[in-house]
């Protein structure tokens, strides 16, 4: 029998602690859309997405109403377009992004991911054509997200791709200059990208996945922050226990929603991604959790340790709550999407270097960080290389999503609106890494790759 307190605690989490399902993401294979004729391929992409995702948004809304839990986003991830478009005789892949964008508008989702290429060991002709099309694709579409995987623990880091991505980010910022470099907010550079991530901007439908699949991303930084009030001044192992219990509850809810969506859409259930995903709303911040653990401001000494505890406890609590956990699973630290991170960066306590250290122990990487508009492509590439190295050596996913908004200077605020929030422009080191980046080639896979 349910107790009065249990029910009221759930209601309180939904009403006052921002408990929600962050996303239901439909993964969809587009491999069968390949066609030598680019227009025909784009049409097939549009048709297939519309056909399979037609019921996604209405079904999500029904589940939302019946369970009384907000499902903030309904999204689609597709096969990396470099693999689909590779067969087409065209240099410009933006046509495929535009087809994805039209389909996303038609079915009513708020993002579609998969304008992607996996180039960790080298580049095919399709990969090259996709990457060179990214600036145009992101500046001529609204809902399309793009990602490029430039490294992996097994393959090492493709430094040619790293060098190129620095330039691609600059070009994307220039082409979306009138929107504060918005295009860059939809572009992620990965190391060890996962194939079943439901979160944007890095979601794509990997080739090892089924024809279609439902992945669900849960959230709940506000719930964790609220729960921490119970253990003020207590030892950290008690804090970890409490976070585990909270993560368990949140993930169980995600599992329920995932099963419901899977059953109603007649699409197999993939994974629950048990990430703590912040939003710019007050009370929905990962930084504030770290501060509730005893830091004056997020980014000061001790932040990495607190984040390591949080990230691990979230995973441990979530693993038992779901039949299948995957995606990125951990604590996200996107600066512009987290009210506490924005405050910590604005006052100068949270720096790029500290964020880099934090990415060693959190679920992803340097996320939604605005850097000065005059940051060179080489410096962007060097930041990507550092982050990829952390991912490669630690056998974890890392990512870089930087926004060098044209004309912005340290101390400015770049506004994106909605879930993407606003980012204080953070300083980068002025000293050059151009010679390192110009070398190109590959950073060989580390010893960790030799497990067989």
């Amino acid at each position: 029998m349910l107790s009065h307190n249990d029910i009221m605690s759930t209601i309180d989490m939904i009403d006052h602690q921002h408990l929600d399902i962050r996303t239901i993401t439909l993964g969809l294979s587009l491999l069968d859309c390949a066609d030598p004729n680019a227009e025909r391929c784009a049409q097939k992409i549009y048709d297939k997405i519309c056909r399979h995702a037609e019921q996604l948004v209405p079904t999500g809304e029904t589940i939302e109403r019946e369970l009384g839990i907000p499902i903030v986003n309904k999204r689609i991830s597709v096969t990396p377009i470099a693999l689909v478009g590779g067969a087409s005789e065209t240099e410009n892949f933006a046509i495929f992004a535009q087809a994805m964008d039209r389909a996303a508008h038609t079915v009513g989702v708020n993002f579609i991911g998969g304008f992607s290429a996996l180039v960790h060991k080298g580049m095919t002709s399709g990969d090259r054509r996709l990457i060179q099309s990214i600036p145009e694709a992101l500046s001529t579409t609204e809902l399309v997200c793009s990602s490029v995987n430039v490294g992996s623990t097994k393959a090492g880091i493709n430094m040619e791709a790293v060098r190129w991505m620095g330039q691609i980010i600059k070009d994307t910022a220039a082409r979306t200059a009138d929107q504060g470099g918005m295009g860059c907010a939809k572009l992620v550079v990965f190391c060890n990208a996962v194939e079943d991530n439901p979160f944007m901007a890095g979601a794509f439908h990997g080739v090892g996945e089924p024809e279609s699949v439902i992945n669900v991303g849960v959230s709940g930084p506000g719930v964790v922050a609220h729960a921490l009030k119970e253990v003020q001044g207590k030892p950290l192992d008690e804090v970890a226990e409490l976070i585990k219990k909270t993560a368990f509850r949140i993930t169980r809810m995600g599992q329920l929603v995932a099963q419901e969506a899977s059953r109603r859409l007649n699409v197999p259930f993939g994974v629950v991604d048990l990430s703590l995903a912040p939003t710019p709303a007050i009370g929905d911040s990962v930084a504030r959790i770290l501060e509730a653990m005893g830091l004056e401001v997020c980014g000061t000494h001790g932040t990495t340790a607190a984040l390591a505890l949080l990230n691990d406890a979230v995973k441990k609590g979530g693993v038992m709550a779901s039949s299948s956990v995957g995606g990125l699973s951990g604590a996200f630290i996107p600066v512009s999407e987290d009210e506490g991170m924005i405050a910590a960066a604005s006052c100068g306590t949270l720096t790029l270097d500290k964020l880099e250290a934090m990415t060693c122990v959190c679920s992803v990487g340097l996320d939604m960080i605005a850097v000065p508009g005059d940051t060179t492509a080489d410096t962007l590439s060097a930041i990507i290389a550092d982050e990829a190295a952390i991912g490669m050596v630690n056998t974890k996913t890392t990512a870089v999503r930087l926004i060098p908004a044209v004309g912005s200077k340290v101390g400015d605020m770049v506004e994106f609106g909605g879930l993407l929030g606003s980012a204080p422009v953070m300083p980068v080191h002025p000293e050059s890494a151009a010679e390192l980046i110009a070398r190109g080639g590959r950073i060989p896979a580390p010893m960790q790759s030799l497990k067989n």
């Binding site: 029998m1 349910l2 107790s3 009065h4 249990d6 029910i7 009221m8 605690s9 759930t10 209601i11 009403d15 029904t62 109403r65 019946e66 369970l67 009384g68 839990i69 509850r249 169980r252 809810m253 599992q255 329920l256």
Partner: protein
């Protein structure tokens, strides 16, 4: 289908009567009720059976939400599953 109805808001005379009348009009059976007042705040939860209800779930949710609004409190209905998922192993 079993669903949980919750009512949260400032306490006053007649809340239970009004909510129960509304549920009766929708032909929703009440299986269990628990209620308490904490610091002037009224909270009530009811386990209900909606299988013989005379409207679909969406309409019921709408009617109850509007009823709650008119009474100046939060009144909602949710499938029981979400609470079981979160609180029972």
């Amino acid at each position: 289908m079993r669903a949980i109805v919750t009512v949260v808001g400032p306490d006053r005379v007649g809340i239970i009567a009004e909510v129960c009348t509304q549920l009766a009009q929708l032909n929703i059976n009440i299986i269990d009720i628990s209620q308490t007042v904490m610091e002037g705040f009224f909270t009530m939860m009811m386990v209900t059976d909606t299988s013989k209800a005379n409207s679909d779930f969406d309409t019921i949710a709408d009617v109850l939400a509007r009823k709650g609004e008119s009474m100046g409190l939060s009144l909602r209905i949710q499938r029981e599953d979400i609470f079981h998922a979160m609180h029972k192993v």
